[in-house]
Amino acid sequence: MSGHSTQENRHIIPARTYIAVGVGLLLLTAVTVGVSFIHLEGWNAIAAVGIASVKALLVALIFMHLLYDKKIFLVIFSTAILFLGIFLALTMFDILSRGEIYPEYEKTIEKNAVMYKKAEPAPAAEPVEDSTSDVQ
């Protein structure tokens, strides 16, 4: 073998590392399924996304070689995550703060939007009265 010949940055990771990561991912899957059955109020969602993030990070760093490869790839990947975060954060900020100054903004548009009502209301037989059940 000619070492660093043609394909640059040839870092060959031992098979057992891959298998360990694979087993780790499966274990984390078991954990996340288990946790979902325990009632933790709002923490369920955080636990679910947190565990998923750890799993995704394992895939990215080991399976996708981000840990060993040139840093540029890590930069590109992080950029994607950063802008996904910006998109999510600013949109959610609007959605969650609609009632802060004028409470009527928080109501879903459905209730006030008679003009948008279709001739045949979608699934429910009788017109849905309460569409603001989803406060917060």
């Binding site: 940055n9 990215a60 590109i76 059940s133």
Partner: protein, 217 residues
């Protein structure tokens, strides 16, 4: 004209690159940028998910119970295993073990097929019950307003992901063919490496879809 020329360049080196390292690294940067665009494509759906879940917390909880957690978990296991076999396939070609690499690629392909078959059964069950997106929703057993929104989000997310699985299978069979033809070796395996990156991303997206859709606590 296009690729491969006389003055001592290997067949896989295109004329406008000065050496193979430059070429393979360019390809990898290109692939990573492509993955970035994929992440931002799914970002839209994740945002839609967050917006509608925050607006319909109860309904999302009620509706998610109608997804089969066993099949979801099975598919997660399947996809994680396929990611592992893909990583090992690339390792084998790095060690110039073509036969093993082909076997591992075949395993990856088969696992992807299993994923789609399981998905097919899940989908057809929902079709039968009328748990469909938007105006096609006819099921009546879910409490809360607008349960069709949950299924709109569910079908868009898993549907777009499913399309990516199919694209991944096409890519895997393409590199498998190349490997069988002997075009890939430890000297040059960029196509397999890129396919691997893509496949891992498909896996990664599912890693998020699974808890967000099946495991709303």
């Amino acid at each position: 004209m296009s690729s491969g020329n006389s003055n001592g360049h290997p067949a896989h080196l295109a004329h406008h690159f000065s050496d193979a390292a430059q070429q393979s690294e360019s390809a990898k940067i290109g692939m990573w940028i492509f993955l970035l665009t994929e992440i931002l494509l799914f970002a839209g759906l994740f945002v839609a998910y967050a917006v509608y879940r925050s607006a319909n917390t109860e309904m999302f909880y009620n509706a998610h119970k109608h997804l089969d957690i066993h099949l979801g978990t099975l598919n997660t296991i399947v996809l994680i295993t396929s990611s592992l076999t893909m990583a090992l396939a690339i390792r084998s070609i790095q060690l110039n073990d073509r036969k093993k690499s082909i076997k591992l690629l075949a395993a990856t392909f088969a696992l992807a097929a299993v994923f789609l078959i399981v998905k097919y059964f899940e989908y057809s069950h929902k079709f039968d019950l009328g748990q469909l997106p938007g105006k096609f929703y006819t099921y009546t057993g879910i409490e809360g307003s607008n349960p069709h929104i949950f299924f709109s989000v569910y079908f868009m997310m898993t549907g777009l992901h499913g399309i990516h699985v199919i694209a991944g299978m096409i890519a895997i069979s393409w590199v498998m063919r190349k490997t069988i033809q002997g075009k890939l070796s430890s000297e040059y395996y960029t196509p397999m490496e890129l396919t691997g990156l893509y496949w891992h991303l498909v896996d990664m997206i599912w890693i998020f879809l699974f808890p967000l859709l099946y495991l709303i606590g």
